[in-house]
Subunit: 597 residues, 2 copies
């Protein structure tokens, strides 16, 4: 297995040469005081070292050993506890956190790169700080000042970790029907009772305390999703002097046996009158939890990019070393028994498909992250509104499109290895097993698609979509006469027009037919993602072209050629997706139950 | 997990209502004496019972327990040995074997259905009889009369099993560079020395003897694939009275740790001067082995269909039971806390994509199987030539297209379960892990695509393709005015024309550019497979339409609606694939090595 190397070159290209991140940071008062280009670069460099040196070496052993459950106690795989301590002490958990509570206040466009490295090196491990950071965000946005002061500093420093407790055995997507109850206590706290399942890092030995954000229903809760409240429930009670008190009335009942991410604990959590604290207003817990969920959804998209990058690195190294058959144009390495498989067109096709989607996905994450920074720090209200809309629109695409592409990429990366890809020691099959969860948790990709199509497109009559389309249109207008972009502007213009037409088509059909949204959703999200990638590849071409002539590293010429491959061989899928959507929902909804078989 | 049920209704529909298998069997002298409709139906019924009652119950436990290696001895998971004995005693191993040596002489169109049931119930188990039957086929076609008489009867009865030993650590796809040596002994036998890896069921405790077909090089072998010979190497020597003699000088060095099919043993086999017997002519072993490989390739396609069917059954059962959220058209089951997820358009989309490809794939297998029966038994030489060409053309499509679709289907089937799909107990994640190997072994799907595009299309200048295109054209001509096929004939005609155009395009470009074949191959195979499925769905519409009016079971109306879904939502992909292929190989081959990263 190739050793994981953080893709710093590509990250710097995105931040400095595509998105002018330093310029953006300098322009935003809330950021300019925390970050400058040198600091950012040092952070990238250091994160790369930790990912490659400390986390990646535990990835395979963590998968093999898994977490252990013994009478409610969870022990992590060998090395995880030490690695976590190093990680926490480096300040990485609070990298994007509010400095007023001990966070480092770094912009998401930078934090996202760090997150990709961590997830690419060790997804099972990476889930723990990812959940902590998301819990902090929800607590920061919705918690009382008292709760924030009590919990955020310890969580930012990683001494305490966070977990999100939503799912119950009978309630996954449909949180409106959860049964966990919260009974008010006399002291203003609540007594939480119920069972939660699929709680990632719900119990473990890496942090001193675990802060659960738990969805539950108050006695006077209205039925459905409008009757859900959010509670902070610590594993150990926290005394007034911030020391740890008694073990709360909660326990981990068991760990799930699952397909992958074995290094992480997936817990059944039982609450038996555990003491918790209301976060935000009663019955508005789902909205508060969405602050965390949206963070995690982008985080899951980032996990996909990380895994795809790792799979590509392994596959490329193998393709350079593995000697098998001769090039169709004649032997390339005559002194060897065969040529490296990198010479074969179909191996190149596989690698380029991996590279095109992985780098396109990284660009997409950075693009969304930059909008997030605008939404958080921009001072112009109108612009902030647009930024909010863009984040809302793009988050489900980041979650679902990037993880769908990531599974494809990992499957292809496994395929490059032939039979060896199916064997554990090479690591490629683990990446497939691990990545598979990213399409499922934090709202399945089908749910993401429905969120995009229904809430983010149809519900606002395409207004959010217009923001995105305008962004692309501006780029096209600015660059339509640029010879560097010949062969890109025209197909990009067709693609965005196709997407706009389909968007309008679905908005129009949805009025008459409530099933149209669900029937179009997944294909629409794919179409959206491919079009967005086409836009970002065009931007990469624009940046790379002037530097390609004097490029001896192959970085810029490689960018140009990957873009060409994307436009020639992957973008045509948009035509098929658009046609499928236009054919409508009738063929799905016409089925009676028995006709399914 | 739903209990596996053999899809007998659909198999009977294919055999009796689409392909008139009984008519074909009656018309072929080699078959008419062995099979009649009643026998065939009894065989289907009985196979369904064994698959559901004896093999499926061992699928999950076999995955969990796996095979055990101890100092060269391999022990199978609990229950496998008994199940194998029942299976062998039922005569199932020799179902398609030559009656002159104890086989049952059944047609492939029937045997393929039985194989699907076995593989759908338990793929790890199914590999053992599948390899035995393939080894018998190669031995039957190329072995001496003495070898055939000595080995075939015991193999057909399953007392001895078969294995194929091709791969070596440095030689997978590129068999020309194998190092295993065969030294002639004075008695006409050979002494085999070398190491083989990835040998499925190479060692185990279910059969009394294991007959390895081993590729090795004779001392005077020319280099490359033309210097490979095929040897039969039994685990135990066979005495003149057919009793078992000494353990041959071969041993299982270890088992691979792999992603799935844990119930099967994947062996490293060491040969230290083991006594073997030449099968066929010296240096022509690869061709002889291809008899087995082509059998296994179709068999692997069948594995895909079986797994896809199992995943669909599980997903459908879950979608009917799992209550979550309300239908977009309003609550359907008001007395329940939520509606079954089957009401949601996107869940229907998932199930229909699974159903469309699984039933389309089963039809494809039956179509190929029927051509195989023609190739074997037809008396008209011209027609037999066409049948041979069709089998050659369609086999790589069956292997690769059906297994690619099968992985998609199993991934979707897992997705229907949401988070529960990632958990072992539900069985869906095992189907994904198991099915993943079908895209890799017996020649990766990339190799299948190259075989199709290079050897089966370009090399004969499209002649084999013409046979297929004529078959479709005949159907179109016969049915173009049939109102039952309105909405199908025109898109089918477009699809076959698109495929024919692309075929011609690649044949023409391949002359000038040797990389074009490899660059087009995978997309071409997809395009071919989708077009073939469209053809078969049209045939199913033709058969189902007249029966749909009086259909209370939903079977025929379900067929019609699934066909509509396929044409509306899946067939459009052909447009994108064709465009990608036309864009050529330049974007792949332009890359220098360093530009990959």
């Amino acid at each position: 297995m190739a050793e994981y190397q953080a893709p710093l070159r590509d990250m710097r290209f995105l931040l400095n040469e595509i998105f002018d991140a330093p310029g953006q940071w300098a322009s935003l008062p809330g950021l300019s005081e925390n970050v400058d280009p040198e600091t950012a670069d040092a952070i990238l460099e250091e994160a790369g070292k930790i990912a490659a040196g400390s986390l990646a070496p535990l990835n395979q052993s963590g998968d093999e050993e898994g977490c252990h459950w013994d009478n409610g106690t969870v022990t992590t795989p060998e090395g995880f506890k030490d690695a976590y301590q190093t990680y926490a002490e480096g300040g990485w958990v609070g990298l994007g956190g509010d400095p007023n509570y001990g966070g480092m206040g770094m912009p998401k466009s930078l934090v996202a790169q760090v997150e990709e490295m961590v997830q690419g090196a060790n997804m099972a491990f990476g889930l723990c700080p990812m959940l902590t950071a998301g819990a902090c965000l929800a607590l920061h946005a919705h918690g009382s000042e008292e709760l924030k002061q009590k919990y955020l500093p310890k969580m930012y420093e990683g001494t305490w970790s966070g977990a999100m407790d939503l799912t119950e055995p009978h309630a996954g997507t449909d949180l409106g029907i959860i049964r966990t109850k919260a009974k008010p206590n006399d002291d203003g706290s609540y007594s939480i009772t119920g069972t939660k399942i699929f709680i990632t890092w719900g119990e473990h030995d890496m942090a001193e305390n675990i802060i659960h954000l738990v969805l539950a229903k108050l006695p006077d809760a209205p039925p459905g999703p409008k009757g859900i409240s959010l509670f902070l429930v610590p594993k150990y009670e926290v005394n007034d002097d911030d020391s740890l008190g008694e073990h709360n009335a909660l326990s981990c009942g068991s760990l799930e046996e699952k397909m992958g991410i074995h290094g992480s604990a997936t817990c059944v959590m039982n609450y038996d009158g555990a003491r918790g604290f209301l976060v935000g207003e009663p019955h508005k817990g789902l909205m508060a939890m969405f602050t965390m969920m949206n963070y995690e959804r982008l985080g899951v998209g980032i996990q996909g990019v990380g895994a795809a990058e790792a799979s590509y690195q392994n596959a490329l190294a193998y393709a350079r070393e593995r000697l098998q058959s001769r090039s169709p144009t004649g032997a390339q390495e005559k002194d060897k028994v065969a040529d490296p498989i990198l010479v074969h067109p179909d191996v190149r096709r596989m690698l380029l498909k991996m590279k095109a989607h992985t780098e396109g996905s990284r660009a997409f994450i950075t693009y969304v992250a930059q909008w997030l920074d605008q939404a958080k720090f921009a001072e112009d209200a109108e612009f902030q509104k647009k930024a909010d809309a863009m984040v809302a629109l793009l988050t489900p695409v980041a979650k679902a499109f990037l993880t769908d592409r990531a599974l494809d990429t990992c499957v292809i990366g496994q395929q490059v290895f032939g039979g060896h890809g199916y064997i554990r020691e090479w690591g490629q099959e683990q990446l497939v097993r691990d990545t598979r969860i990213t399409q499922i948790y934090e709202g399945t990709n089908g749910i993401q698609a429905m969120d995009l199509m229904g809430r983010k497109v149809v519900a606002n009559n395409g207004q959010f979509f217009e923001y995105f389309a305008d962004d692309v249109a501006d780029f096209i207008t600015e660059n339509q006469d640029d010879p560097a972009l010949e062969g890109y502007i025209q197909p990009l213009a067709s693609a965005i027009e196709r997407l706009a037409d389909v968007t309008e088509h679905v908005i129009n059909s949805a009025g008459d037919n409530p099933t149209e949204v669900g029937a179009a959703a997944v294909d629409y999200l794919d179409l959206f993602g491919l079009t967005a990638e086409a836009y970002l590849w065009a931007r990469m071409v624009k940046a790379a072209k002037p530097k390609a002539d004097n490029d001896t590293s192959g970085f810029y010429t490689g960018k140009l050629k990957t873009a060409r491959f994307f436009y020639d061989r992957l973008l045509p899928q948009t035509v098929a997706l658009a046609e499928g959507i236009r054919n409508g929902s009738d063929s799905m909804m016409a089925f009676s139950e028995e006709e399914f078989g």
